[in-house]
């Protein structure tokens, strides 16, 4: 009986910090992999938009040249000054801009989307899962 009450106490002692961490820690993992950050869109959503989408590839020129979403425009921070005017020449303001990088782990798509938004380009979305999501689309 004593062992059981000690075990319950230990469990309680562990649950309090665990609960606080889950609720307040800035680095807490999402409850689900599918959680969308602000401005993100799932591949199924973007595909449903059909031809209403302007794809923007935020990866390196090397990755873009190897393979990219058909019709995507290359635009990354490394070569912004060269690529931005080329992007403007191809950009269709009627379409929704969707930026992607390699995977969920990369930040480039969010950085490029943020810079485009600062320039007044709207609407801009980030593809959840990036190029990996495009490759594994059904």
């Amino acid at each position: 009986m004593r062992a059981l009450s000690q075990a319950a106490l230990i469990l309680l002692a562990a649950l309090i910090p665990a609960g606080l961490t889950a609720a307040f820690h800035p680095q807490r993992p999402p409850w689900s992999e599918e959680t969308l950050l602000p401005g993100e869109a799932r591949i199924q959503t973007v595909l449903a938009w059909g031809g209403d989408v302007q794809w923007i590839d935020a990866r390196s020129a090397k990755d873009y040249e190897a393979e990219h979403v058909p019709g995507a425009i290359l635009l990354n921070l490394e070569d912004w000054d060269q690529l931005f005017p080329r992007f403007l020449d191809q950009w269709n303001p009627e379409k929704k801009a969707v930026v992607y990088c390699s995977s969920t782990a990369c930040e480039l798509s969010h950085e490029v989307a943020e810079r485009l938004q600062k320039d007044g380009i709207s609407p801009v979305y980030v593809l959840k899962g990036g190029w990996e999501a495009w490759k594994s689309r059904k």
Binding site: I10, A13, Q27, S60, D79, P85, L88, E107, K118
Partner: protein, 214 residues
């Protein structure tokens, strides 16, 4: 009760691993000429056993890390060097470096690197857009010079004579408004606005903004 205390200590020990970090979060303020920053994260193995740093992962391809060795004896110190190359990034940046060790492979430490990248000449927005057929009204581009930059705006020129620019000094030497007006918005058009500074003297910096009629 002793069992309880022991178990709590064991839990606490495993939750924090064996590496003690001196400055797991570091902040830098870049100068206009900087292209990168290097942060050094010093650590000590405070455990009773040797440990191995198994993985060091960065949140961005722009940040690379260097580690001289991976195995550390009890009491031994080392450091992870992280280099963040700006590559066109501006403003406040936050990069993460995730370190996994053999002591707690499932509980990596997340080191943080915060950098405030100053833009010597800030142009906002970089593009002004008119839709074909809309009213022909001027649009404004704001130029701001960083406080500690000696640069001033020398000229702003449009490469298309049918898109006119007019520059106004809002705050002497520090802030300017460029009013952009196309002659005609009834057909598509484009212009590049060439913004020349007077600094550095031997090779003054040139920035660009864009006007589009679509």
């Amino acid at each position: 009760m002793r069992t309880l205390v022991f178990l709590l200590c064991a839990f606490a020990g495993s939750a924090f691993g064996q590496l003690a970090w001196e400055n797991p979060e570091q902040t830098f303020n870049s100068k206009p000429q900087d292209e990168s920053v290097v942060a050094k994260y010093r650590f000590t193995n405070t455990g009773k056993e040797s440990l191995k740093i198994e993985n060091v992962k960065t949140s961005c391809g722009c940040t690379t890390t260097a580690l001289t060795k991976t195995e550390y004896a009890p009491g031994e110190s080392g450091e992870i060097e992280a280099k963040f190359v700006f590559s066109g990034r501006t403003g406040r940046q936050e990069k993460a470096i995730t370190v996994s060790t053999s002591a707690a492979p499932q509980q990596p430490t997340i080191l943080k690197l915060f950098v405030n990248i100053e833009e010597p000449v800030k142009i906002q927005p970089e593009i002004v857009l008119w839709r074909v057929g809309e009213q022909r009204e001027p649009k404004t581009i704001h130029i701001a010079i960083a406080d500690d930059s000696p640069a001033k705006i020398a000229t702003v020129i449009s490469d298309n004579p049918s898109v006119k620019v007019q520059i106004t000094e809002v705050k002497p030497g520090k802030e300017y408004d460029v009013q952009v007006t196309p002659d005609n918005v009834n057909q598509p058009g484009a212009a590049t606005l060439i913004i020349r500074t007077d600094y550095p003297r031997e090779n003054p910096e040139t920035k660009y903004a864009y006007a589009r009629i679509r």
